[in-house]
């Protein structure tokens, strides 16, 4: 592990640790509204100031980080599993299965997901708690984010289909699914890891995008997406630099993930 990957790992560990320690670092809590100090600049009581309705920005950044950092990997895990089964099996089986699965994947890739997510959100029951809304948002992202990975995995699995070890296993009478599970899937591990690490920053950014559209995590729960919405006012950008903290944190975390990912892919950093 070279210096930059170590640094990225430490940064991620630090950010995760701080977010888990949010209760101690920012005892104000993410939902308490200090209405007398709405939109206040940084002070001793509120290190990063308060948002427009008086909530402690540091607390919201830390709790938002916790949500984004814990749920994005969970969604990435779900989408990677789906990609492994759909893409991996399609590649392994080949023929009509592969063509069918890839046709479905292409269809999914061509759909306007933003509008579909807006529609899906509109169809969901209204009376869900903020916690459920967080889970639903990331679940949706996980369920919809498997397509690109499935294409990569299908190609990788296809290359094993006629390999010697698979032919030998088939000749030994190992049934199809068991062969896929025991012999093919383990060989897809490097690609699966890479897809998993790639998906995490993608989902963090997707949630942030949904949050900007008002479709992500419900109030009063914070997320990076909802925190980034504070930057919508173009006029305020230069005047209140502390509002950039969530954006800077997002860039640091995504960059750290990319640096770690470069190891998995065997790329030079």
């Amino acid at each position: 592990m070279n210096f930059w990957r170590r640094l990225a790992f430490l940064v991620l560990l630090l950010v995760l640790g701080m977010s888990l320690a949010a209760n101690w670092l920012a005892p104000a809590g993410y939902r308490t509204q200090y209405r007398e100090a709405a939109g206040a600049p940084p002070s001793r009581q509120h290190w990063l100031g308060t948002d427009e309705i008086g909530r402690d920005r540091l607390a919201r950044v830390l709790y938002g980080t916790r949500i984004s950092l814990l749920l994005a990997p969970a969604a990435a895990l779900l989408s990677t599993f789906m990609a492994a089964f759909i893409g991996g099996l399609a590649g392994y089986l080949g023929g009509i299965w592969a063509r069918g699965a890839m046709a479905i994947t292409d269809l999914f890739l061509s759909l306007p997901w933003l509008f579909l997510l807006i529609t899906v959100r509109a169809l969901l029951p209204l009376n869900v708690s903020p916690l459920i809304s967080v889970l639903v948002t990331f679940l949706l992202l996980g369920l919809l984010g498997w397509t690109s990975a499935a294409r990569v995995l299908s190609a990788s699995a296809g290359s094993f289909r006629d390999s010697d070890f698979v032919r030998q296993a088939r000749a030994s009478g190992i049934p199809g699914f068991r062969l896929f599970w025991i012999h093919v899937l383990p060989n897809l591990k490097p690609v699966l890891y890479a897809q998993f690490w790639i998906s995490i920053p993608v989902f963090i950014l997707s949630e942030a995008n949904l949050g900007i559209l008002g479709l992500g995590v419900a109030e009063p729960m914070p997320s990076w997406g909802s925190l980034l919405r504070e930057l919508e006012g173009l006029v305020s950008v230069g005047e209140e630099p502390w509002k950039f903290v969530p954006l800077i944190l997002l860039i640091i975390v995504v960059t750290s993930f990319q640096l770690l990912l470069s190891k998995e892919e065997g790329l030079p950093v």
Partner: protein, 544 residues
């Protein structure tokens, strides 16, 4: 020689002096043309036909180009004569007779007469045109009759009484019956000179405009108005700061404060506007909601308690940075004549709210409110996504109601989904939205207050009024619409306001202030609360 030269000089001086005097005399009767005004329209105008106008951009162009028989003075809120010198409404409120000014021409030189008014009214009331302006005059079945008595006198008879009939003509720009230019021949201060779709609209002064100021200078003062089509408010703000435009007609409170920090003289807070922000519960019987929730929402005590537990002062102070006033009722105090001054604001009192709910059988246990059957009081408030102010208000209401044990889930939906739930499926619990009021007269709110109306949002299209108070509102609204006596109408509408304040079918939250920005080089501006806030006196504005 010297004497001759002196004589010549004296003659020259006399001639110059006479020419100067003559120029003053001529100048007094001519325009004091001064400059170009620039501002932004936030959307593309959908039409230049003043009778088909519906969107804000087209309304603004109609205001600047159209000549009307009467005009509501946006500052005094009093109706003033324009193309009509005087008018008279018959006792039964069905007929209005206008006495018109003579010697007036359209922008293309076509003379103006009573025939043009008759033509405009017939066009306006043609059902095939589906004119939104014409809809405000429809009060009964049958056709409208126009009788041209003389070139300067016309009587218009409607099939039934139209309440506030004369005020409605403020929206009717007169068309020419004979001009080949049709709707592009206008009687207002400006004419459309050039239009580049998606970019700019150029209005030039109408050379035939009939008005002059007190000193005899022809109006308008401005040479032209350039309207840039710019939907992005951030860009509009930046252009104003860089002197690219001269005014912003409607400003957000956040931008107002930022501008006020650097240029306090250019921002204007005209006080509470007619616009209100409000929330309401779903009281539709067939709504797909559990019966116990319908019982809460249809309970006057529950609605009043929720209203009492909302801190409106904080909403005005925090969300709108003090540029809003806690709402008192359905009519803003800005509406000088129709606002019921007897109404008192709802006082913020979580304790009072809790006591009222407990008297109704609700229980407050472990910071949770439960009804008498043990159901936890939980409901969702929907608002449209992308509206920062409403989302903030909903979040603050969520926190306020938490104090009395009510759990509120804030949901933001795209506008079409929200409207579908509100008007088609009725699959919602509470909605937070705003109401943009452009008119002062209660008749313009008939579609909200009549229980049979589609826009009776808390329970639309009731076959018969489902409650006694809704029945009373129906009767009062019909009574005021059928009366031509302003005081009797006011008395009836005051009672409507009192019932609404008592029953709280709408929980009125705040009335936003009318905020605007006008550059220092614009002279004669005097922002008001009625639209168009900054250029209502466009003919008297000048830019130096």
């Amino acid at each position: 020689m010297r004497n001759r030269k002196t004589l010549l000089k004296m003659r020259l001086c006399r001639r110059t002096g006479l020419a100067w005097l003559a120029s003053i005399v001529i100048f007094a009767g001519s325009a004091l043309a001064q400059g170009e005004l620039r501002f932004c329209l936030r959307s593309e105008p959908k039409t230049f036909d003043p009778l088909k106008v519906e969107d804000d951009a087209s309304v603004a162009i109609r205001y600047l180009t159209g000549g009307t028989l009467v005009r509501l003075n946006r500052q005094t809120q009093v109706l003033e004569p324009e193309l009509a010198q005087s008018w008279k409404i018959s006792n039964d409120g069905r007929q209005i007779t206008f006495h018109l000014r003579s010697g007036i021409s359209f922008s293309d030189g076509t003379p103006f007469s009573a025939e043009d008014v008759a033509y405009t009214v017939q066009q306006l009331m043609d059902p095939a045109l589906q004119s939104p302006t014409g809809d405000t005059f429809r009060s009964g079945s049958g056709s409208v009759e126009t009788k041209v008595i003389s070139p300067t006198e016309i009587a218009i008879t409607f099939p039934a009484l139209v309440a506030g009939l004369d005020r409605q003509f403020d929206q009717v720009a007169i068309l020419s019956a004979h001009s080949p230019k049709k709707e592009m021949a206008v009687l207002g201060p400006f004419v459309v000179a050039d239009y580049k779709p998606g970019a700019t609209l150029l209005l030039r002064r109408n050379p035939n405009y009939w008005k002059s100021d007190e000193q005899g200078h022809k109006l308008p003062y401005l040479d032209s108005i350039t309207l840039d089509i710019q939907p992005n408010r951030d860009v509009e703000m930046l252009r104003f700061k860089r002197n690219g435009i001269d005014l912003i007609n409607s400003l957000d409170s956040e931008y107002y404060d930022r501008l006020a920090e650097t240029s306090p003289k250019v921002v204007h807070d005209a006080g509470p506007s007619l616009d209100s922000e409000q929330m309401w519960f779903n009281e539709v019987l067939k709504a797909p909601l559990p019966a116990y929730k319908k019982n809460w929402f249809r309970s006057q005590t529950f609605r009043r308690a929720v209203s009492q537990a909302i801190n409106r002062d904080d909403l005005a102070k925090v969300v709108f940075r003090g540029h809003a006033q806690p709402a008192i009722g359905p009519v803003s105090p800005a509406n000088k004549f129709w606002f019921d001054t007897k109404l008192k604001p709802t006082l913020y009192s979580p304790d009072g709210a809790l006591k009222a709910l407990q008297a109704e059988g609700f229980r407050f246990e472990n910071n949770t409110l439960k009804d008498k059957d043990g159901n936890e009081v939980v409901f969702s408030i929907i608002t449209n996504s992308g509206n920062k102010y409403r989302e903030q208000m909903a979040t603050m209401i969520q926190e306020d109601l938490r104090k009395i044990g009510i759990q509120v889930n804030v949901v933001t939906l795209d506008f079409p989904s929200l409207i579908e739930r509100m008007t088609q499926t009725f699959d919602y619990e509470a909605i937070l939205l705003g109401l943009t009021n452009v008119g002062l007269d209660p008749n313009e709110q008939m579609n909200v207050w009549l229980s049979s109306s589609e826009n009776h949002q808390w329970n639309p299209q009731e076959k018969t009024p489902e409650t006694a108070w809704e029945s009373e509102i129906d009767q009062l609204m019909r009574a005021q619409a059928a009366s031509s006596n302003p005081l009797k109408r006011k008395e009836a509408f005051d009672r409507v306001q009192e019932i609404v304040a008592d029953e709280q079918p709408f929980i009125y939250l705040v009335n936003r202030d009318a905020l605007s920005a006008i550059a220092a080089n614009v002279h004669g501006a005097s922002p008001v609360i009625l639209a168009p806030q900054t250029f209502w006196n466009a003919e008297r504005l000048s830019v130096k």
